[in-house]
C-alpha cells in the first residue's frame, strides 16, 4: 500500500550492477535492438501519417512520439495473445510492439476495409486485435480502464492463474469517474490488473496542474489500496522493470499496481491541434531532449549493440519498409457500401 518511487527488481532474473542495465533485467542484446528498431519504425509510421494527413489520405493522426519507451517497455512485460492489453489512442507504439505491423497501422490510419482494428470504421488510434488480445476501445477518455478490470475479474471467476490485464491512459483520464470506479473495483477485490498512466503533462491543451490535483498521479494509488510507482517514461528499462514487477505481482495474486510513467508528448495532441497556442517556444524547444528513441539509441551505441553506421542503415531500411507498407495500404480499395450494415448483431 506504500508508494514506491524506486521499483523493486526482486522478481527480475539478474541483479549484477556490473552488467549493462538491460542484462541486469534479463534482456538480451537482440531484444534491445528489436525495441530500438520498433520504436524507430513506429516513429516513421507517425511521420508518415502526418504526411498522409496533409495529402488528405489519413484524416486523423494522433501521435505516440515521446511515448515509445513507455509502450515498448511495457510490451516486454506483456505476453501478447495471453495477457490482455487495453490501450488508448496514444498507444500506437504499443500496438506495434505487441505484434501489429506498419501495414496494419497504415490500413487503420487510412480507413481501409482490411484495417485489422476496425475494418475502417474507427478513426486512427483505436488499436485492436483479438488474436493479440488487444481490446478495442472507444474514443471516450477513461471509459476503457474498467474493461481491463472486468477482464481481471473474469480471471478471478474462472480461476485462471498466471494471467493479467494491463491498461493504458493519460493523466487526463484519471479525472474521469469511470477511471475511479475501475480503480476502486480493482482495489476492493485486489484483481490481477496493472494500470499504466502515460503522464505527458497535458490533456490536449490543459496542463496537468489544471486537471490533476496532485503532483504525481501515482499518489492517487493510495486511495485504492494499491501501490503507486513513478518511473521515467522515457527510460525503457525503468519502465520495463516496473511493468514486469507489476505484471508478475498481478499474475501471482498480489493485486493491482498503478504505474505512472512521466514523459513528454513531442508533437501536438493530434493533427487538429496547434500546441504553440499553449506551450511556450522554450518549452517546445526543450522537447527534443526528451526523445526516448535518442535515449535508447545512445544507450545501444554506448554498449556496442550497434554503431552509427548501422543505425543509419537501420533507419533507411525502416523507411523503405514503411514506404512499401504505405503503397500497399494505399492500393486497398474501399469496402462495398453495404458492409456499412455488417456486424451490428451476432448470430
Amino acid at each position: 500500500m506504500s508508494m514506491q518511487t524506486d521499483t523493486s527488481l526482486a522478481s527480475l532474473p539478474i541483479n549484477d550492477p556490473a552488467l549493462p542495465r538491460h542484462r541486469q533485467l534479463g534482456l538480451s542484446d537482440e531484444q534491445v535492438l528489436a525495441a530500438l528498431a520498433g520504436m524507430q519504425r513506429v516513429r516513421n509510421v507517425d511521420d508518415r501519417l502526418w504526411q498522409l494527413s496533409r495529402q488528405g489520405k489519413a484524416h486523423f493522426v494522433i501521435t505516440s512520439a515521446g511515448h515509445e519507451a513507455t509502450q515498448f517497455g511495457c510490451a516486454w512485460a506483456i505476453r501478447a495473445g495471453h495477457d490482455y492489453s487495453v490501450p488508448y489512442y496514444r498507444d500506437m507504439a504499443l500496438a506495434l510492439a505487441l505484434g501489429q505491423t506498419p501495414l496494419d497501422l497504415l490500413l487503420h490510419g487510412m480507413g481501409k476495409p482490411t484495417d485489422p482494428a476496425s475494418g475502417g470504421r474507427q478513426m486512427f488510434g483505436h488499436f485492436s486485435s483479438r488474436a493479440l488480445r488487444i481490446v478495442s476501445g472507444s474514443s471516450s477518455v477513461g471509459s476503457h480502464i474498467v474493461h481491463a478490470v472486468g477482464l481481471a475479474l473474469a480471471f478471478r471467476i474462472t480461476g485462471e492463474q498466471d494471467i493479467a490485464a494491463i491498461t493504458f491512459f493519460g493523466e487526463g483520464a484519471t479525472s474521469e469517474g469511470a477511471w475511479h470506479e475501475g480503480m476502486t473495483i480493482a482495489g476492493v477485490q485486489q484483481l490481477p490488473v496493472v494500470f499504466v498512466c502515460e503522464n505527458n503533462g497535458y490533456a490536449i491543451s490543459v496542463p496537468a496542474h489544471r486537471e490533476v490535483p496532485v503532483r504525481d498521479v501515482a499518489t492517487k494509488a493510495a486511495g485504492y489500496g494499491m501501490p503507486g510507482v513513478i518511473v521515467d517514461g522515457t527510460d525503457i528499462f525503468a519502465v520495463y522493470a516496473a511493468a514486469h514487477t507489476a505484471m508478475q505481482r498481478a499474475r501471482s495474486g498480489g493485486g493491482p499496481t498503478l504505474i505512472e510513467c512521466k514523459l513528454h508528448r513531442l508533437r501536438p495532441h493530434s493533427n487538429a491541434d496547434d500546441h504553440s497556442k499553449y506551450r511556450s517556444p522554450e518549452e517546445l524547444a526543450a522537447l527534443a531532449q526528451h526523445d526516448p528513441i535518442d535515449k535508447l539509441r545512445d544507450y545501444a551505441i554506448l554498449h556496442g549493440l550497434l554503431d552509427a553506421v548501422q543505425w543509419q542503415v537501420l533507419q533507411q531500411q525502416i523507411k523503405a519498409e514503411v514506404d512499401a507498407a504505405t503503397l500497399a495500404a494505399d492500393q486497398v480499395p474501399d469496402p462495398p457500401l453495404e458492409s456499412l450494415y455488417d456486424h451490428l448483431y451476432g448470430a
Partner: protein, 327 residues
C-alpha cells in the same frame, strides 16, 4: 408446472443458467449476501459463492464496465442496476461501449452482457425509485431492450438474453415482482428476443404495450369487451429492435391502434411505434394512432394522491379504448 411469481421466475432463470453454464455470473449492489434489495438474487451467493454472486461498490459505470470486460474474455455477466433510475451513470458504458463493441471492431470482439434493472412506479418510490428509463436505450443500434410482462416470459426472455451474443438491457417492472404469478416450467427454455406476443386477439383496436401496462390493458380490454368493443392486445416484449411484423399485421387487421406505456408520453417508445404504423399501415388506418402514457413530468410524486393521478390504470385505458372505438 409450478406457479411462480414474476420475481421467482427471474430468480429461477438466473439459478438455472448459472447451474448449467459456468460462464454465467451476477454482479451488482447488494446482490450477494442480501440477495438484492428486491431479493431477486436471493440464495445465489449461498449456492454459487462470492465469485459468482458479486457484491459491488456503488459504481454503476464500474459494474457495467466490469461486466463488459468479463464478457470480452468469454463470460456471461448479468449485471444488476438497483433501480432503473440509477442506470444513468452507466449509460456511457452501455451505449458507447457495450452496444458498439462488435460494430467498432468489425466483428472481432463481441459483448454478451445483460443489464437488469427494476423500473416503474406504484410502490411509493417517488421521483427516483419509479422512473421508466427505457427511452434512453431505444435509439441505440447494437443494443437490445427487453421488458417482460409475465413470469413465463420473464424466465424465458432472461435466459435468451443471457445466451444472446449481444448486450441486452432487461427492465423488470417492480410492481409485477410479487403481484403476478403464473406457470413457469422447471427447466431451461427460451423465449426469443425481438418477437412480440398477441395476448388477446380482437378485431377492432390493437393495443401495443409492455410490462405492467400489459396487465392493465388486458383488464381494460375485458371491461370494454362487455360493451362490445373487441380489442387485440399485443405485448411488445422487446422494445429494440421492435417486432415490426407483428405490430403491422395487428393494426392492418384492426385498423385502429392505441399505444400504452408508463414512460412519459413525449419521447417514449410510443412515438416510434406510432411512426411505424403511420408509415407502413397508413392505408389501413381508420383513426389516428393514439398514445396513452404517463404525463410529461419527471416521474410519480411521493404523495399518494398525486401518485395515483400520475399512474395509468385500467380505467384510463378503457376510457381511451372507448374514445378510439367511437372515432
Amino acid at each position: 408446472m409450478p406457479e411462480l411469481t414474476f420475481l421467482e421466475a427471474i430468480r429461477s432463470a438466473l439459478r438455472d443458467e448459472m447451474t448449467a453454464d459456468q460462464r454465467v455470473f451476477v454482479l451488482g449492489q447488494d446482490v450477494g449476501v442480501k440477495g438484492g434489495v428486491f431479493l431477486v438474487t436471493d440464495g445465489l451467493y449461498q449456492q454459487f459463492g462470492e465469485h459468482r454472486a458479486i457484491d459491488m461498490p456503488i459504481a454503476e459505470a464500474g459494474i457495467v464496465g466490469a461486466a463488459i470486460g468479463a464478457a470480452l474474455h468469454g463470460l456471461r455477466p448479468v449485471a444488476e442496476i438497483q433501480f432503473a433510475d440509477y442506470i444513468q451513470p452507466a449509460v456511457d458504458q452501455i451505449i458507447n461501449e457495450a452496444a458498439k463493441l462488435r460494430y467498432r471492431s468489425a466483428g472481432d470482439w463481441s459483448c454478451p452482457i445483460v443489464v437488469r434493472a427494476p423500473f416503474g412506479s406504484g410502490i411509493h418510490g417517488a421521483l427516483y425509485h419509479s422512473q421508466s428509463t427505457e427511452a434512453l436505450f431505444t435509439s441505440t443500434p447494437g443494443l437490445k431492450v427487453v421488458i417482460p410482462a409475465t413470469p413465463y416470459d420473464a424466465k424465458g426472455l432472461l435466459i435468451a438474453a443471457i445466451r444472446d451474443p449481444d448486450p441486452v438491457v432487461f427492465f423488470e417492472h417492480k410492481q409485477l415482482y410479487r403481484t403476478i404469478r403464473g406457470e413457469v416450467p422447471d427447466g431451461r427454455y427460451t423465449v426469443p428476443l425481438g418477437t412480440a406476443a398477441v395476448r388477446r386477439t380482437g378485431r377492432q383496436i390493437s393495443v401495443f404495450t409492455y410490462g405492467l401496462m400489459l396487465h392493465h390493458s388486458l383488464t381494460a380490454a375485458e371491461q370494454v369487451a362487455q360493451e362490445g368493443i373487441d380489442v387485440e392486445v399485443v405485448d411488445l416484449r422487446t422494445l429494440y429492435p421492435l417486432d415490426r411484423e407483428t405490430i403491422l399485421a395487428s393494426v392492418r387487421k384492426t385498423s385502429k391502434a392505441l399505444i400504452v406505456h408508463e414512460d412519459n408520453l413525449t419521447g417514449g417508445i410510443g412515438g416510434e411505434i406510432s411512426a411505424l404504423i403511420g408509415e407502413y399501415a397508413f392505408e389501413y388506418l381508420d383513426a389516428p394512432v393514439r398514445r396513452l402514457a404517463s404525463p410529461d413530468v419527471p416521474a410519480t410524486a411521493f404523495n399518494e394522491a398525486l401518485e395515483a393521478h400520475f399512474m395509468l390504470n385500467p380505467t384510463k385505458i378503457a376510457h381511451a379504448l372507448r374514445e378510439l372505438a367511437a372515432y
